[in-house]
């Protein structure tokens, strides 16, 4: 009698992604696909220099180009109090430069013209007279005495320090180190990377003077936050602002911040009273928008001789670029860096962090990472491997003996997070078995005798996904909850809207599966819409793997509200009291007479045609969900590699992933997320970085220098799963989107370092380019990857 949940596309169904129907036909609707009547085009002139005083800007030749409608400079923005805008981290950022340019690629002027070719030609006609200043490309330079103050626009800013911050127990940690038998150390740089969504950022601002309404089609992962920001920055009434985020070609954190191009296109539309489109080019995206990482980490681990970890010290120096526009919960200056070591039972820890301004692009975003968790977990797993080596212990056993045990939950981490569930040792065991750990260790010894270098690297971690709870997590004071609204129509079909914003995660598919699970309405009968602030309920958007933990929970909760009302309707239709009605998937029935029942579709019909006396008609509701805690998925990644000792080239022999993200809504999508994340992890470990030379030139401003991995060189991955349901999430799910990007890099790097163990080299900075590996092998010293780039001149 009861419905087969998999058949209706419910929980656990590897349902094909409904959005792919239009994507694979080229029928997606991205910002650049939208054309409005009378639309003009905007291009941005960017600074060629990293640090320079602007002596003058001559725009007369640009105005003279036929078809030019508007030329905007910082001076014009300043006259409207728009030269600077607030960032998501309580700093300010130049919209268009006025006094100085502070990074290569900074926005200096904008041209609006009849077509983008004209706008680009006119940009080239603008003459800017720069007086070069010494550029700063790393924290060491930023903290040097006599360093130029980059943010001399800020009153009271005497140096290049953005913040000093610490968390944990300093005294307790000092005591732990005093009692330690062994202390291990490691120091490394997590290089600057870039989310590089395939679609760049862009907007179409459309200000309608007759209604005073501003509509902005925009590439944003968080349309509601943008609406609030526009209301504040542009001083427009919030109800007269409509932000529409249509199909997004990826985001990975890059599309969370507010960028100068958005603001300039909005002002241009208001001034010209015509729609103004701005589409960033690829270089503009790479050179100016939210980057990831660029953190220098060092630390120590205190241990007993038997391998028990007693305490950890960590310090980070982070490079934020010219403006502190990181996207992260306001309370945490270096994001959730202190989630490091959460999977290990460590009594005490202390983290100190200092942020620096440099002459580099601003906007440390969580590149497929829950707020600096990628750096935290990379450091953790590099530290753990170094510690195991120093102790002479097997790296798997060292992890196992220090794991939080299955019956120790809930567990308070040394930095104060509360983890709630997991089976860490089980995941590790599955991973070791899959990779053939013991056999590989033997193979490695055999290979060594023949001059071949094999290595194995492990990375195990639990990470905090799904900010927030509202007690601790907010952005600019707005609490990090999320929402869903469900309308069930008379025929039992439904529309669901949430405050999240899909950008490849497959919300249109998976949200419907949650509704199907809760109500028994087939997933194909539910349409999902997100991204239009005029129709979607308020939410904080999609990043930090928060959609399923927060918005997904709201989808379950609103479905339950609908079911509660449907139960009353069912009782009315069945002519029994509500207490006598039971539920099975898709159907209410009389407990004492199970054959007597009504389907959810019949209840929906009655909600519009035959409701009980006194009941409000209709079957729709909304839910705002404030999660009690973060979710804590666990992952175990193990890579094996062979290093060519003559060239330093390394090949991945095997990569095994064991992920426990709790209950899986759509296993196929989960696997896709893990494979995508491992691919990005492999890229960061092997080839990908943005660096800078002594002049502050960005090396990595195009896709010949900044490499995205392709199917040709990316290794295969073997995936395994463990399911430990989240105890507080309504359907037991945990975040997954970012686990592999976060945990993956350390597995590859640890594997290469394991192959090089006999050299005594402790660290090679990512990416492990062949020349770096070769240098470590032949020179037997650590290899730093910190900018400035080593060149001949």
């Amino acid at each position: 009698m009861s419905i087969d949940e998999i058949k209706i596309g419910g929980l656990g169904a590897s349902r094909r992604r409904v959005e792919d129907n239009r994507f694979i036909r080229g029928a997606g609707n991205y910002v650049d696909d939208i054309t409005l009547p009378g639309m003009l085009h905007m291009e941005i002139l960017r600074s060629p220099l990293a640090h320079a005083r602007i002596k003058s800007i001559d725009v007369s030749a640009a105005w003279a180009v036929p078809g030019v409608r508007l030329v905007l400079t910082g001076e014009m923005m300043a006259s409207r109090n728009l030269a600077w805008m607030p960032t998501l981290s309580y700093d300010t950022q130049a919209v268009l430069a006025t006094d100085k340019v502070r990074f290569q690629g900074q926005e200096v002027a904008c041209v609006v013209a009849d077509d983008p070719y004209i706008a680009k030609d006119a940009c080239e006609a603008i003459v800017v007279d720069y007086e070069p200043l010494p550029p700063i490309v790393n924290p060491t330079q930023a903290m040097a005495s006599g360093a130029p103050v980059i943010r001399d626009d800020k009153v009271n800013q005497q140096d290049n320090v953005v913040f000093d911050w610490d968390v944990g127990d300093k005294d307790g940690t000092d005591r732990a180190f005093a009692e330690a038998d062994v202390v291990s150390e490691i120091e490394l740089h997590y290089p600057r990377s870039h989310p590089s969504p395939i679609e760049t950022c862009g907007s179409i601002a459309d200000f309608d003077r007759s209604t005073s309404k501003l509509t902005v089609y925009m590439t944003t992962q968080a349309p509601h936050i943008i609406r609030a920001a526009v209301a504040i920055v542009a001083e427009l009434p919030e109800h007269m602002i409509r932000i529409v985020s249509p199909d997004l070609g990826g985001g990975f954190g890059n599309k969370v911040p507010v960028y100068p191009g958005y603001v300039a296109s909005i002002l241009a539309s208001i001034l010209l009273e015509r729609p103004v489109k701005w589409i960033e080019d690829k270089s503009g995206n790479l050179i100016s928008t939210g980057f990831g990482r660029d953190v220098y980490l060092r630390g120590q681990m205190a241990m007993r001789q038997d391998g028990r970890i007693l305490g950890v010290r960590m310090h980070t120096d982070s490079d934020h670029g010219a403006f502190f526009s990181d996207a992260q919960p306001s309370k945490f200056k270096i994001g959730l860096m202190h989630s490091a070591f959460a999977c290990y039972d460590i009594p005490t820890a202390h983290l100190t962090s200092r942020g620096y301004y440099t002459n580099k692009a601003p906007g440390g975003v969580a590149y497929r990472c829950s707020f600096r968790v990628t750096e935290a977990m990379f450091f953790q797993e590099r530290m753990v491997q170094a510690a195991a080596d120093d102790l002479g212990m097997d790296q798997a056993e060292f992890r196992r003996m220090n794991f939080v045990q299955d019956d120790d939950f809930p567990h308070r981490t040394a930095f104060g997070f509360l983890t709630d569930s997991g089976q860490y040792a089980k995941c590790l065991d599955i991973g070791l078995k899959a990779v053939g750990y013991d056999d590989f260790l033997k193979q490695k010894e055999e290979a060594k005798k023949r001059g071949r270098l094999l290595g194995i690297g492990i990375s195990t971690m639990t990470e905090p996904l799904g900010a927030g709870n509202s007690r601790e997590y907010d952005i600019l004071g707005i609490k990090m909850f999320d929402s869903a609204e469900l309308r069930v129509h008379m025929t039992g079909k439904a529309i669901l809207r949430t405050g999240a914003k899909t950008q490849g995660q497959g919300h249109e598919t998976t949200w419907a599966q949650i509704v199907a699970h809760e109500l028994g309405i087939p997933a194909e009968d539910i349409v999902v819409e997100e991204g239009d602030t005029d129709t979607a309920p308020f939410g904080m958007g999609t990043y930090a793997s928060r959609s399923t933990p927060v918005a997904g929970a709201a989808v379950a909760m609103v479905s339950r509200k609908i079911r509660a009302k449907a139960r009353k309707i069912a009782a009315h239709l069945l002519e029994v009291s509500e207490e006598d009605v039971d539920w099975e998937l898709g159907r209410f029935f009389v407990r004492s007479a199970p054959d007597l029942g009504v389907t959810i579709q019949e209840c929906a019909n009655a909600a519009y045609s035959n409701m009980p006396d006194g009941m409000e008609p209709g079957l729709e509701n909304n839910a705002y969900y404030d999660p009690p805690n973060l979710t804590w998925p666990f992952a175990c990644y193990i890579a094996t590699v062979e290093v060519d000792p003559l060239t330093g080239v390394w090949d991945v022999l095997n990569m095994v992933a064991v992920d426990d993200c709790g209950v899986r809504i759509n296993p196929m999508i989960v696997e896709g997320q893990i494979m995508g994340g491992l691919t990005e992890a492999y890229a960061m470990a092997s080839m990908q970085f943005i660096t800078f030379d002594n002049e502050g030139n960005c090396i990595g401003s195009n896709y010949m220098d900044y490499l995205l991995p392709t199917a040709w060189e990316t290794p295969g991955f073997e995936l395994h799963e463990v399911v430990t349901p989240c105890p507080h999430h309504p359907i037991g799910a945990k975040g997954i989107g970012e686990c592999a990007t976060v945990g993956g890099p350390a597995a590859f790097v640890n594997a290469v370092m394991d192959a090089l163990k006999d050299t005594g080299v402790r660290n090679i900075d990512m990416p492990l380019l062949p020349d770096r590996v070769h240098e470590a092998l032949t020179e037997q010293h650590d290899v730093s990857g910190a900018p400035p780039l080593r060149t001949d001149s």
Partner: protein, 291 residues
């Protein structure tokens, strides 16, 4: 990515193309595969006044061996044509080894061999291969055609001796002296990346004795490098381990790499030596073969 304004011509004969080049007076560029030119135009690194698209000229897509063993590649022969050519490894082993390593499969379906040589990117693969093979380029101008050895053809980074009114219509590899063997190795950070370093090797020998050798180096100088001393050192020898080691050392010292984000200069020189050694060691004959 919006290029500057340009005009577009699509001639249907070589003569018409040459006339358009003449009229272009140095402001015209030839469009064949466009895999380097179009990105450079979009970045506005190149802003030609006129694009002369030669894709409508018939009978230029060939690659063929003459009866005497001379091998000819027409101006519209795509990389993929060579990659997929049956039996190429037997007659042109260096070309066959390089073809699947050029850029990525997408570029290989559009980009052309001759266009790549004319682009004269120091990181281009085909110029190295042509140097190793002692090949030449046939240029057609208003007053007739001439043949230019590739070692003279490339005059600097992205520069050739081709006149503004000349169209490169064919690449020619001379017939081998004896048996031809060779190979190509390239180190790249990722498929489709420019070479960190690349080495093309070709030898021709009678029995076990090397009659002719060529070594071209990719991405380790401001233009493609002809490691002629290294190649000359092999002639008359039998590819002994000592001879190979000497050639590797000479090739490395002929390279002029710069340190950059792909690797240090020292590392690139080391890769040149390693690749020369690997390539030549693969060509060593077993005693049985030599006999």
């Amino acid at each position: 990515m919006y290029p500057s304004r340009f005009s577009y011509e699509a001639p249907t004969s070589i003569d018409e193309a040459v006339e358009l080049l003449r009229l272009g007076a140095g402001e015209a560029k030839v469009l064949a595969g466009g895999q380097s030119l179009l990105p450079m135009m979009k970045l506005r690194f190149a802003s030609p006044g006129t694009l002369i698209d030669i894709n409508n000229i018939p009978d230029l897509a060939y690659h063929r061996a003459d009866a005497d063993g001379t091998y000819r590649i027409g101006a519209l022969c795509r990389h993929a044509h060579l990659e997929k050519a049956n039996g190429l490894a037997e007659i042109q082993p260096t070309i066959a080894a390089a073809a699947p390593l050029v850029a990525d499969p997408i570029v290989r379906t559009r980009g052309t061999f001759v266009g790549s040589v004319c682009h004269a990117d120091p990181q281009g693969d085909w110029a190295s291969v042509m140097i190793a093979l002692g090949g030449s380029v046939v240029a057609q101008g208003p007053d007739g055609s001439r043949s230019i050895p590739v070692s003279d053809f490339v005059s600097g980074p992205f520069q050739t001796v081709l006149g503004f009114d000349e169209l490169a219509i064919e690449a020619v590899v001379p017939a081998p002296v004896g048996d031809r063997a060779g190979g190509y190795l390239k180190l790249e950070r990722r498929v489709g990346d420019f070479a960190t370093a690349g080495v093309a090797v070709s030898i021709e020998r009678s029995g076990s004795s090397v009659a002719r050798a060529g070594i071209g180096l990719t991405g380790v100088g401001s233009s493609t490098i002809d490691a002629s001393d290294a190649a000359a050192s092999l002639v008359g020898g039998n590819l002994t381990d000592d001879e190979i080691a000497r050639a590797a050392e000479l090739a490395a010292s002929a390279s002029r790499p710069r340190s950059d984000h792909r690797g240090s200069a020292d590392y690139k020189r080391h890769i040149v030596a390693t690749f020369v050694t690997r390539l030549l060691s693969n060509l060593q004959l077993t005693n049985q073969e030599a006999a």
